[in-house]
């Protein structure tokens, strides 16, 4: 099959599954069979994506684009739809289909207690999400990308709010939708401005213009900043990161797929994809880098004080997305994308591992777990593998991608960003091992849940297999780079690898001393770092700030509108009706009931008419 056919098949398979589930309610309501349909389509899509990937690898970075006219316009179509296959999109396709497949298999067991119609709905959403994400990845132009971009946003909303009868989940879904929408407004304005300036949405012509330096240079900084805003919302960069931790209200497999491995990386993908355009505006790139590095550090500090295992992972995702953006901002987009791929694998592993833990003990609070390694040995092993990878320990996948990012930033001479990212690496190791020590080692919690530790056991095979596959991939990817070299052209100075290992080791040591050995009392550390600790616990007041702004702006505006409605609109109507009533009351008195009065009125009227006629004639 040609690359184009394969590329079309990858999103078409989940699309078929979605249409089938959406249009055939009896099938959807059966639950598990619906899931199997979705999984089968996903598995076929994975095969197609893998084949496409090997083709893309063999062709050595030649881009294949196939487009069809979409919006007609004078002198050729204004916009097209199609597929654009290169190493970037092929690698992304493999990641998306792989994680989606594993997550869907895992969900069969994780959501086994859901009623069948709800499970069918879940798989319909999952398939739609896969279509949207794959369409986004394959988009050959900004307009198609935007359409799928919004579709993944919709799926994210639907899946966060999967348990829509929980108020917190419904609120989180709406919050995620609105906050990402805030960035998307910038994105669409940027796209339209870019079209206005260049007359095309397509990447091909735009990249050619960038290469020939024929882009309208005056408008580019504003345009690219606006487009980047879309990525800020989607990839949870400061200050629009607040939706991602709340998105953990969704089922854990959803968090693994959408809010860790794929959808949130769409922003990084966008920046990587449009790198030739971003490269023409160094100031915007610097901004991207600074915001990325700041986000990485900020989110890492918040992860250190969080007690909810999923929220720790969520802040960790925000932090790692900041890493990728920092790399992109330093011009090392390939390093950022490399980190995106490895992070997608091991973060999905961590989330699914966390899901297995939550499934077993029925709580998200790490301080109510403890000593789980004995009860859940398999889960414990894969979680530790994921933690080591995230902390950047040789020879796991995270070590190489993190080193590539750090090297890219260092090569650019961005010393402050580099320092922030290095500190983040230390914090990453600390908060991940904090979770490991508190939840998996240490003493079991003295008052376990009613259905807690005594019955806690390892995940059923349907959940365990995806975990082991991801863990194996994390190790295999790392070994591949450890043995075969590679991992991008960013290696940095010789001291970089020891430094990043030392940072990870320091984080590990601190976590061990605080939470395992209890040589250092965490409360004293918190007291020593009091301002930062308090601020991080309050999430730097950003949620409160947004809530305050929301109250001030939206509720204030609503009050004004309410006043206008009550006193102007309603008032006018009330006045009119009062006048009508009073006028009717006055007119009523004319009806005296005495026949003579009526005759008098008739006679007088005739007289008036006669006089009038005489005067006019």
């Amino acid at each position: 099959m040609t690359p184009v056919t394969l590329a079309l098949a990858v999103p078409a398979l989940p699309l078929a599954a979605f249409v089938l589930l959406a249009l055939v309610p009896p099938l959807r309501r059966t639950g598990r069979p619906a899931g199997i349909v979705s999984i089968a389509a996903m598995a076929a899509a994975l095969v197609a994506a893998l084949r496409l990937w090997t083709l893309a690898w063999a062709r050595e970075a030649r881009t294949v684009t196939a487009t069809w006219p979409w919006i007609p316009g004078d002198g050729g179509p204004m916009a097209t739809v199609g597929v654009m296959v290169d190493e970037l999109s092929a690698a992304m396709l493999v990641l998306v289909t792989l994680v989606a497949l594993l997550v869907q298999v895992y969900s069969l067991a994780y959501l086994a207690e859901e009623p069948p119609p709800a499970l069918g709905r879940y798989y319909a959403y999952q398939s739609l999400f896969a279509v949207s994400m794959l369409g986004l990845v394959l988009a050959p132009g900004f307009l198609q990308m935007f359409v799928f971009w919004e579709l993944v946003g919709l799926c994210s909303y639907l899946l966060i709010g999967f348990w829509y009868d929980r108020p917190s989940a419904a609120r989180a879904a709406v919050k995620a939708f609105w906050i990402t929408r805030l960035g998307d407004v910038g994105f669409i304005i940027g796209i339209v401005m870019l079209w206005g300036a260049t007359g095309t949405f397509e990447f091909g012509p735009l990249f050619a213009m960038a290469a020939e330096r024929t882009l309208p240079t005056a408008a580019m900084p504003a345009i690219m900043t606006l487009i980047w805003l879309g990525a800020v919302g989607k990839s949870a960069q400061f200050p629009l990161h607040v939706w991602l931790p709340d998105a953990m209200e969704g089922p854990t497999p959803v968090s693994a797929l959408i809010h860790a491995a794929t959808m949130v990386t769409a922003g990084v993908f966008l920046v990587t994809r449009a790198m030739p355009l971003f490269a023409t505006v160094p100031d915007v790139l610097a901004l991207i880098g600074w915001v990325g590095a700041f986000t990485a550090l900020l989110a890492a500090t918040m992860a250190c004080v969080e007690a909810d295992i999923k929220r720790v992972l969520a802040y960790s995702t925000v932090s790692q997305l900041g890493y990728m953006m920092a790399a992109a901002g330093a011009g090392a987009a390939d390093a950022g994308f490399f980190h995106l791929l490895t992070h997608g694998v091991f973060k999905a592993l961590l989330f699914l591992g966390a899901g297995a833990v939550i499934h077993a003990v029925g709580t998200n609070d790490i301080f109510r777990m403890g000593g789980l390694f004995r009860a859940l040995p398999q889960t414990g092993i894969v979680f530790v593998v994921g933690t080591l990878a995230l902390a950047g320990v040789w020879p796991l996948a995270g070590f190489f991608s993190k080193e590539a990012v750090l090297a890219g930033v260092w090569e650019r001479g961005m010393t402050v960003s580099f320092a922030m990212l290095a500190l983040t690496a230390f914090l990453t190791a600390f908060y991940m091992f904090r979770v490991v020590f508190v939840a998996f080692f240490g003493r079991p919690h003295p008052t376990p849940d009613p259905h807690g530790h005594q019955h806690a056991h390892d995940a059923p095979p349907l959940m365990a297999v995806p975990l082991w596959v991801l863990a194996a991939l994390t190790v295999a990817l790392g070994l591949r780079f450890a043995l075969g070299g590679g991992g991008g052209e960013h290696h940095g100075p010789a001291w970089l690898a020891p430094l990043s290992l030392a940072l990870a080791a320091a984080g590990f040591a601190l976590a061990w001393a605080e939470y395992q050995r209890r040589a250092i009392d965490p409360a004293r550390v918190a007291a020593a770092l009091r301002p930062i600790d308090a601020a991080a616990r309050n999430r730097y007041g950003l949620d409160a700030l947004y809530a305050g702004v929301y109250r001030a702006a939206v509720l204030g505006f609503s009050r004004v509108i309410g006043w206008i409605d009550r006193y102007l609109v309603d008032g006018l109507l009330n006045l009119l009706s009062a006048w009508t009533l009073r006028g009717g009351d006055r007119l009523r008195r004319l009806q005296s009931g005495r026949a003579q009065d009526y005759v008098y009125a008739v006679a007088f009227g005739v007289l008036v008419l006669l006089v009038w006629m005489q005067l006019l004639a």
């Binding site: 009523r588 009806q591 005296s592 009931g593 026949a595 003579q596």
Partner: protein, 99 residues
Amino acid sequence: MGLHAYLALAALVFAIGLFGVLTRRNAIGILLGIELMLNAVNINLVAFARFHGDVAGVVFTLFTIAITVAEVGVGLAIVIAIFRVRKTVEADHLTLLRG
């Protein structure tokens, strides 16, 4: 005497009848006023018939007289019916249709 004299007489009778309708308080008096007004019209019709040499006016008058008789019959019957119920024929007291 010319046509104008008859017309003036008719107008006078009509006005007297209207005055009676408007001012009498007794329902029978009001009916009498109506009779005067109708007969003023009859005078007009006969006068025009006479001066224009057209018999049609006289024919109309005959019709009017017949209808007037019927009207008085119905009117008096209503007055009697009202008197039986309300024990009065004072027009000022018959204000059931007041708004």
